[in-house]
């Protein structure tokens, strides 16, 4: 293997109009090495990799591939150079078969017709390289996110990719799935594939990376070895030290605010009971697919359930009615904010006001002054970083978008907040702000239910932890008695035996 980098970004910059998004960044990727790209949301990581993927061309600076200065005007050119990008949002067509997805655009032909036998053979071969032994005839949508991600990698490898760019590949994976993915990645590394790896999970960096490039506000900050301690990485990334990653201030719990009794929906969750007191944060841990999201959605009235009761402040809620839940003070911050949380084309102000839009109206007229006032107050309180309330919410970074979804409920005065993966795709700085907001809610006599797949977060922010496994409550732990192994052992309880 030569020592020549596969790819060098040599002092590249990218300007959009008067705004410089990437400013004089240099990055090397060597064969058989994993270069971690670290930076907060909005630091310019995506723009940087889009230059390599052929989405944007740099405004200045050079892209050097195998020692030759190169232009990458479009995605085809990027592919031809052996570069493959696995975007955060997966690009598979869920109704098409795995084979068709993998071979898309280059289906093998015989006599002008698709040669299905050959297609399935090539697809099986590609799937084997990532350790997937599934039927290539299966529709892509039938696989979970983790395995879809592997299919994308398989597709990239079948295109003879020598450079893989992985944009937050672990964001929606469970620990077990991440381990498998890392196994595949290590295998590829030993075969000489170079990789750029983007992640917000600092613990993954030392586990998988070789070297780390840190950027902040579009500028190159440092290149350090992957063994650099986490606090130092955080300092480089945010430009200041974050004293506490999990600033939970426990409030003495008071009377029960939310109680759930025997909640059951066939095929989703069974006999789920728990209680959350005012001033308390209940963390819900468990594997993806354990039924956590389904339970909080049912409590919020987003979906119905078969049996059981949900009681808020002593009053039972009628099932499947969002309006009733909201009136009782329940607010849901859903798992996927782009799909379920935000109207991306609408302004920050509109997005902050949806919960109060109808209830604050008088004679059917919008309470325009009140809506504007509430939006500006809550945006200020949550320190939403934006150009103004009229800005489109799609232009905000992930953390600020999440604050907008949360802000909607704060502004409506909700007392029971159900947060489903509240910090997914949110950078370190905004994470802490969201945690502090949870403290404020509980200090003001509210209750928080937080579903999270990040164990450190669950352990750091909860007062009690409920672990779900296969649709059931596997156990409830006081945070003092909980650590990663105990939570994980509850999370995998029974799973192996019951699953098909």
């Amino acid at each position: 293997m030569s020592d020549q980098p596969i790819l060098t970004l040599d002092h590249v910059s990218k300007r959009f109009g008067s705004i410089t998004v990437v400013d004089d960044v240099t990055l090397n990727v060597n064969p058989g090495k994993i270069q971690v790209l670290l930076g907060e949301n909005g630091a310019g990581k995506s723009t940087l990799i889009n230059m390599v993927a052929g989405v944007h061309e740099p405004s200045s600076g050079q892209i050097i591939v195998d020692g030759h200065p190169t232009r990458i005007p479009d995605t085809k050119a990027s592919e031809a150079l052996g570069i493959a990008t696995i975007h955060q949002e997966l690009q598979l067509v869920s109704s098409l078969s795995l084979a068709e997805n993998i071979m898309m655009g280059r289906l093998p032909r015989r006599f002008g017709l698709v040669d299905k036998g050959e297609m399935y053979r090539l697809a099986t071969e590609a799937l084997t390289t990532v350790g997937l032994h599934v039927d290539p005839r299966m529709p892509a949508g039938a696989l979970g996110i983790a395995r879809q991600q592997l299919v994308e990698i398989a597709k990239a490898l079948s295109l003879k990719a020598r450079l893989l760019i992985l944009d937050e590949p672990t964001a929606s994976l469970t620990k077990h799935e991440i381990e498998h993915l890392f196994g595949v990645i290590s295998q590829l590394r030993s075969e000489g594939v170079g990789m750029v790896f983007i992640s917000h999970h600092l613990d993954e960096i030392s586990a998988i990376g070789d070297s780390v490039t840190v950027i902040r506000d579009g500028k190159f900050v440092a290149e350090v070895p992957a063994t650099t301690p986490e606090p130092e990485l955080v300092r480089l990334m945010v430009g200041r030290t974050i004293d506490e990653q999990f600033p939970r201030r426990a409030t003495p719990p008071q009377e029960p605010l939310l109680s759930v009794e025997g909640l059951t929906r066939k095929g989703a969750f069974t006999d789920v009971s728990f209680e959350v007191r005012a001033g308390e944060v209940l963390g819900i841990a468990g594997l993806v697919g354990a039924g956590r999201t389904e339970v909080v959605r049912a409590i919020a009235g987003a979906d119905s359930y078969d049996t059981g009761t949900v009681t808020v402040d002593g009053k039972p809620l009628s099932k499947g009615r969002i309006a009733a839940a909201i009136a009782a003070g329940v607010g849901l911050v859903p798992e996927d904010r782009k799909a379920f949380g935000l109207v991306l084309g609408a302004s920050v102000e509109d997005n902050l006001g949806y919960v109060t839009l109808m209830s604050s109206a008088r004679y059917g007229l919008v309470d325009r002054r009140g809506q504007a006032r509430r939006a500006s107050e809550v945006a200020q309180r949550l320190a939403v970083r934006m150009r103004g309330l009229g800005q489109r919410v799609s232009a905000l970074s992930g953390g600020n978008q999440q604050k907008v979804v949360l802000g909607r409920w704060i502004s409506a005065g909700s007392r029971v907040l159900l947060l489903d993966e509240p910090t997914r795709g949110v950078d370190v700085g905004a994470k802490v702000e969201i945690y502090q907001l949870m403290n404020e809610i509980t200090a003001a006599g509210g209750a928080v239910v937080m579903v999270s797949s990040e164990l450190p977060e669950v352990l750091g922010m909860s007062d009690r932890i409920l672990v779900m496994s296969d649709g059931r409550v596997a156990g409830v732990l006081a945070v003092a008695d909980a650590d990663q192994p105990t939570v994980m052992s509850l999370a995998v309880k029974e799973v192996e035996s019951d699953r098909v």
């Binding site: 909005g42 506000d217 579009g218 109207v343 609408a346 509109d350 919960v355 839009l357 103004g388 905000l396």
Partner: protein, 332 residues
């Protein structure tokens, strides 16, 4: 992609809008109001091509020609804002006018009551389409396609295929007040009502939320089904008004009236800058869209272009207008 627009965590973002030159402001305005600029350019072109265009009489003619499509299109705007489509508006216009004429003529209802029957017909039919969409889970395209056929059929059943004279109040709607034609006044009133609904009523703002992201709207407690039923009901009501104006102009309700107008109304809405994907659309844009269509038809008539070629030209205008809009949105 989206990340390129992320806001930086700078404590003092410089408001770029404040330092723009007048020229840049005009350019911004033109880019934000593409349809309006197009309409003005079109009028200028027509004025140069034929001096007859810019006479008061002819302009009022354009107004009359635009009015029926504009009223239909205002109703259509509500529907398109929620990412739906209403194919039944032409048929509902005909049915409502026919019901008004029939109840006035055959049942001997007083003119105002007959008018009310006409309006209720459009409203009720719209509610049925809305309920089929919201509760019956039929795609709007299918629900309103069915309504298109049902309403046209009922129009023929009620009229027996023969035109019926309109009640006096309906004929008045098609007449003039001094020099101003009533259809133009009705168009402006309905436009004002449409604007008020979309911008000042909470259910109007909710329409944008539902069209922008139905699930996010639902989870925020917006009564999505009620909103959907309302938009189709409003579309039906506006269609009824358009139908009454049209029949008043002719002093008789025609069984084949307003055939194909649903397509003109959709064209007016999209020329006005709305997106069929939902969440976007304005009454002012729709008005401009309807005027663009009317100016083209009027101008081409003045220039003696055959009606066959007019169809070809209008089709091209729709494609170009929406194409420009798509390009513009992509750039920003």
């Amino acid at each position: 992609m989206s990340n390129t627009q992320e806001t930086k965590p700078t404590p003092h973002p410089t408001p770029t809008a404040d330092v723009k030159s007048t020229g840049a402001k005009i350019a911004d305005f033109a880019s934000d109001n593409g349809a309006l600029v197009g309409l003005l350019v079109l009028c200028l072109g027509m004025f140069i091509a034929t001096p007859d265009f810019l006479t008061p009489n002819n302009l009022l003619n354009v107004g009359i020609q635009a009015s029926v499509v504009a009223i239909l299109a205002f109703g259509q705007t509500f529907v398109i804002v929620t990412a739906g489509i209403d194919l039944s508006v032409g048929s509902l216009a005909a049915l409502s006018a026919m019901v008004a004429a029939f109840t006035g003529q055959s049942w001997g209802m007083p003119p105002l009551v007959a008018l009310l029957f006409g309006l209720l017909t459009g409203l009720a039919a719209g509610m049925i389409s809305g309920a089929a969409t919201a509760y019956g889970k039929l795609p709007p395209f299918i629900a309103t396609l069915a309504m298109l056929s049902v309403a046209r059929g009922l129009t023929l059943v009620v009229s027996n295929g023969i035109p019926i004279p309109t009640p006096s109040v309906v004929t008045w709607l098609g007449g003039d007040v001094g020099p101003i034609p009533m259809p133009v006044i009705v168009m402006l009133v309905m436009g004002a009502l449409g604007w008020f609904t979309l911008n000042r009523l909470s259910i109007g703002r909710a329409m944008y939320a539902v069209g922008g992201n139905l699930e996010a709207a639902r989870l925020s407690g917006i009564p999505v089904k009620r909103v959907l039923v309302t938009v189709y009901a409003l579309s039906g009501l506006f269609a009824a008004v358009a139908g009454l104006v049209l029949s008043g102009r002719l002093a008789s309700a025609q069984p084949q009236a307003a055939t194909g107008y649903e397509l003109d109304s959709i064209a007016a809405v999209v020329i006005g800058g709305a997106s069929l994907a939902g969440g976007v659309g304005k009454i002012s844009g729709t008005l401009i869209g309807a005027l663009v269509l009317a100016v083209i038809r009027n101008g081409l008539n003045l220039l003696n272009v055959s009606a066959f070629w007019q169809q070809v030209i209008i089709g091209l205008v729709i494609a170009v207008a929406v194409g420009i809009d798509v390009l513009r949105r992509k750039r920003t």
